[in-house]
Symmetry: C2
Subunit: 202 residues, 2 copies
């Protein structure tokens, strides 16, 4: 069973770390137990929705050619750089969200975080930020490509292709929103942690 | 002279507000005066760089047709939706940064914020977030359009057009990075404010 001393990060602030594995975790002493549990459920919900939306978006992109009325001269999604970007960004976000769901469930059931508190809150917040920007960037680039495809004759020749890519982009933006809300929640967690954990701000 | 009771926002937390205009502002009592001053200078630097980069990006987009070797059949930037988006996003960010520079300078010289503390820190952080996402989205869409223009023959026919749009996009991304760092700094300010200002987290 991994307790809070599972992975210790090198830190200039030794006060933060638990000296004994069976001490109450720091974050739980900040917010009361029931608040913490409710808060963790909210995070879990948005992690789940981020996972579902990102996974659907990447599957939709991946199956454009299989699902659209196939003809040998129809455009392939992987010929377009922006669609490859959308696929990769959503796949990465889906994998990340999957592991974060695992970490959330672990925290709800065992009452302690996977890494040390300090690593966990900053890891969550940092990665949420990066993946939110990644998904937005991919979504914008993909949307611009889809708009360009409408101006040339690609969409008139093969409308199913464009409709499916639009759906994938919409799912990608929904995934972005979920990651954005997770990011705000994990930012709040960082604030809670700093209040008790850092000497500098006390 | 506008003191902290200049604009009072409706707030459920009356403790936050200053009862007398000549009280020491709340944020200044959290971090020491010299730290606060250094921190404000850092914010001012990144606001300045955000302003310069965003303004340059929008001017570069605006003058594509004037500066590039002009011919009656050369493409116009305002015919492309993504370039209009890049122009608008950068212009908005430049105007926002300009006012934020004013607010920063005011805070450094007068020692108090333009709005009430509570409004100011949340206003800064929220707007920085929104404009960072806006600039990134515009940059991504513009980059995808520029890539598409290279694939068709637009760039071979009028290379100056493409080079200037590339420079504008690069400046836009530099502006995004500046706003992103301002956003992290103003997020830190929100944390500092919450630590002293909110009853819930004490």
């Amino acid at each position: 069973m991994v307790r809070n001393n599972g992975i210790e990060s090198p830190s200039p602030r030794p006060r933060i770390h638990q000296t004994h594995p069976h001490d109450t975790p720091l974050f739980q002493s900040t917010v009361s137990q029931s608040n913490l549990r409710r808060f963790n459920y909210w995070i879990l919900i948005f992690r789940l929705s981020a996972f579902c939306f990102s996974l659907s978006a990447s599957v939709f992109i991946l199956t454009i050619n299989a699902a659209a009325a196939y003809s040998p001269d129809s455009p392939r999604w992987y010929r377009f750089g922006a669609f490859r970007f959308v696929f990769a960004a959503n796949a990465i976000a889906a994998v990340y969200s999957f592991f974060q769901i695992g970490a959330s469930v672990w925290e709800i059931y065992s009452g302690c975080t996977l890494f040390s508190e300090y690593s966990q809150v900053w890891f969550d917040f940092g990665h949420d930020q990066v993946f939110a920007y990644l998904l937005l960037s991919a979504g914008s680039a993909g949307t611009e490509l889809a708009r360009q495809l409408r101006e040339v004759d690609t969409c008139r020749a093969n409308n199913a292709f464009c409709i499916q890519s639009d759906v994938a982009l919409a799912l990608g933006f929904a995934g972005f929103l979920s990651v954005l809300i997770s990011c705000l929640l994990s930012g709040f967690r960082v604030v809670c942690f700093i209040i008790k954990g850092s000497r500098f701000l006390h």
